[in-house]
């Protein structure tokens, strides 16, 4: 996966800003994408390109269980969120629904990656290449079951 970075240097980016409450009634995925990140970054939908990555701090996706949040990001083109940590329901929604990859990175990678950097993510090697800065970071490997669900393409394709 190759793409460029949209970086939000903050912790606790919650589902109320990823996809605000008034849009919870919407279940058309393409329509939802138009409102992604609206509570934090009004220009997100103009800026985001297919294949982009979001980079953020700890506890990304905290708040509600709305699957609208990973759906809106996914249908905006986001392939993975690279964060210091994730809130649990956002994490499992992203994986089980096969919307995007929640990738945990460490403090040094988080600090080093800049907005608009070009990255290449290789989950088979647990590696993130920063093509702009010519550096390689390690990502935290997925737990066994999570890796299998990702490989299967979501929970419904996974055979326990």
């Amino acid at each position: 996966m190759k793409g460029s970075v949209i970086k939000y240097e903050r912790d606790n980016i919650d589902t109320d800003v990823i996809l605000p409450g008034p849009y919870l009634k919407i279940h058309d995925y393409v329509e939802l994408a138009k409102h992604a990140m609206e509570g934090l970054d009004k220009d997100f939908h103009k800026r985001v390109k297919p294949g982009d990555f979001i980079v953020a701090g700890k506890n990304f996706g905290c708040g509600s269980s709305r699957e609208h949040a990973p759906i809106a990001l996914s249908y905006s083109g986001i392939k993975a969120v690279l964060a210091l940590s994730f809130a649990r329901i956002f994490y499992r929604n992203a994986v089980d629904g096969a919307f995007l990859l929640p990738i945990e990175i460490d403090e040094s990678a988080y600090k080093d990656i800049s907005d608009s950097d070009s990255l290449e993510v290789d989950i088979s090697k647990n590696e993130i290449k920063n093509l702009t800065k010519n550096k390689i970071y390690k990502m935290k490997p997925f737990p066994e079951l999570i890796g299998k669900i990702i490989e299967a393409g979501g929970l419904f394709n996974y055979k326990p």
Partner: protein, 424 residues
């Protein structure tokens, strides 16, 4: 050596023992969807059908129940259509327990879970809503899931969980009269942070909790979500048995901690030392003592939601408002029709109306910024609800202070954040 959560998950996964970190598929006893997650699940079903999957029945319609709460009364054409879709869904799959807006009992899903005893001690309960944790106060494992996971449960009757580590919160001694469970849980979230219990279970015990009513315990477990917890739980006791018996339920399989149950960490609080506490914008962890915020001027007070509009919450509000009038716009939305009725029978609604308050129908409404009283730019609200992230209750530049029903009502009277003890 297992604690209550581990024992419930071991039983539900057919194992004699599980340990924190184990990933297990557990059999689910009850599942809930509402007018946001229900249509979300319907969308997942449609997506699956497009891949060739045949879906003509669900796992067990008897174990599924449905609430209409977020966008009722229908806020607009889309939310009206969602209710129609939900109704068609329950008809198609033979789900009988659908609490419909305007047809007898209805209300916020988490409130119905206890008011109607939809979930029983020892059960595994999942819901398409993050505050599903609330119901853990009934001695059940209760956790929120997204649409794909709930769809999976509806078709398979099971779901994966990583067995959580348990943080035990031991509350020593009763809370003072001017303090509520809301103050305590805000204090705890302030101490451990919004990811302080991420992926973990928060268990509450000690004499402070055994002295507490079931409804107050529900406030504690409700806001474990705001600390990032997978679930919150309280061991069953006589108070819970009485609460369930009053709802006609006496048969269930209680689960308790083993005598040598293990917890990852034990936190101790002295009940008598808890102060009226408020979470400032824009995070539930951003707490302050109410008295330190007495200069904050407010535009509005909101008394509603699964967190802060149960019967005892309304009684607390009435205790403050009796014989007084509000200085700012104040809204009371009881969390279920059964609570609305009890509040009417006890004369609470008259106290509210006499105080100048508007009383609305049960709905999640403005708590999640959906409708029915959302905030404008720069408006400042004190609220008995659970979250105050930017834009949570309306405009991203509105501000919400989270507080107990007592503090919220006292603040409604003065127009500034007020400790109930300081009310003349």
């Amino acid at each position: 050596m297992l604690n209550i959560t581990e024992k419930i998950l071991a039983r539900a996964s057919g194992k004699s023992k599980v340990s924190p970190g184990d990933v297990v598929f557990v059999n689910v006893d009850k599942v809930m969807i509402h007018d946001v997650s229900g249509p979300g699940v319907i969308a997942v079903f449609e997506k699956l059908k497009k891949t060739g999957m045949k879906i003509d029945k669900i796992w067990d319609p008897e174990r599924v129940w449905v609430a209409e709460d977020h966008f009722v009364p229908a806020a607009d054409k889309i939310s009206a259509q969602n209710i129609v879709s939900l109704t068609n869904f329950t008809k198609q799959f033979g789900i009988k327990r659908h609490f419909k807006y305007g047809m007898g009992q209805y209300g916020i899903c988490h409130t119905l879970s206890h008011e109607e005893a939809m979930v029983l001690p020892g059960e595994v309960y999942v819901g398409g809503d993050s505050h599903t944790n609330t119901t853990g106060a009934l001695g059940a494992f209760a956790a929120g899931l997204g649409h794909t996971d709930v769809a999976y449960v509806l078709l398979n009757g099971k779901i994966w969980f990583k067995v959580p580590e348990t943080l035990f919160f031991k509350i020593n001694g009763k809370l003072p009269d001017h303090v509520m469970a809301k103050d305590l849980i805000l204090k705890i979230i302030g101490d451990i942070g919004t990811d302080g219990a991420a992926y973990k279970t928060m268990q509450f015990g000690g004499t402070g909790v055994s002295e507490m009513s079931v409804e107050e315990r529900l406030t504690l477990t409700n806001m474990t979500t705001e600390a990032g917890a997978k679930s919150g739980i309280v061991e069953p006791d006589q108070k819970l048995r009485d609460y369930l018996a009053a709802r006609g339920v006496t048969k269930y399989n209680e689960v308790h901690d083993d005598a040598d149950a293990q917890y990852e960490k034990i936190y101790e609080y002295e009940g008598s030392k808890i102060e009226p506490t408020v979470a400032k914008p824009f995070s539930p962890e951003n707490i302050a003592v109410a008295r330190d915020l007495s200069s904050v001027e407010l535009d509005k007070a909101y008394i509603g939601s699964c967190t802060g509009a149960k019967l005892e919450d309304l009684r607390a509000v009435a205790k403050i408002l009796k014989g007084r009038t509000v200085k700012i716009r104040t809204e009371v939305l009881p969390a279920a029709i059964s609570i609305f009725r009890k509040a009417m029978d006890e004369g609470l609604l008259k106290i509210f109306l006499d105080a100048g308050v508007v009383v609305g129908p049960p709905t999640c409404g403005a708590c999640c910024g959906a409708h029915m009283g959302v905030l404008a730019k720069d408006e400042i609200c004190i609220s008995t609800t659970n979250r105050n992230f930017p834009g949570r209750m309306g405009h991203v530049e509105s501000q919400t202070y989270l507080a107990s029903p007592l503090v919220t009502a006292a603040s409604a009277v003065t127009g500034k954040i007020t400790d109930p003890r300081d009310l003349k």
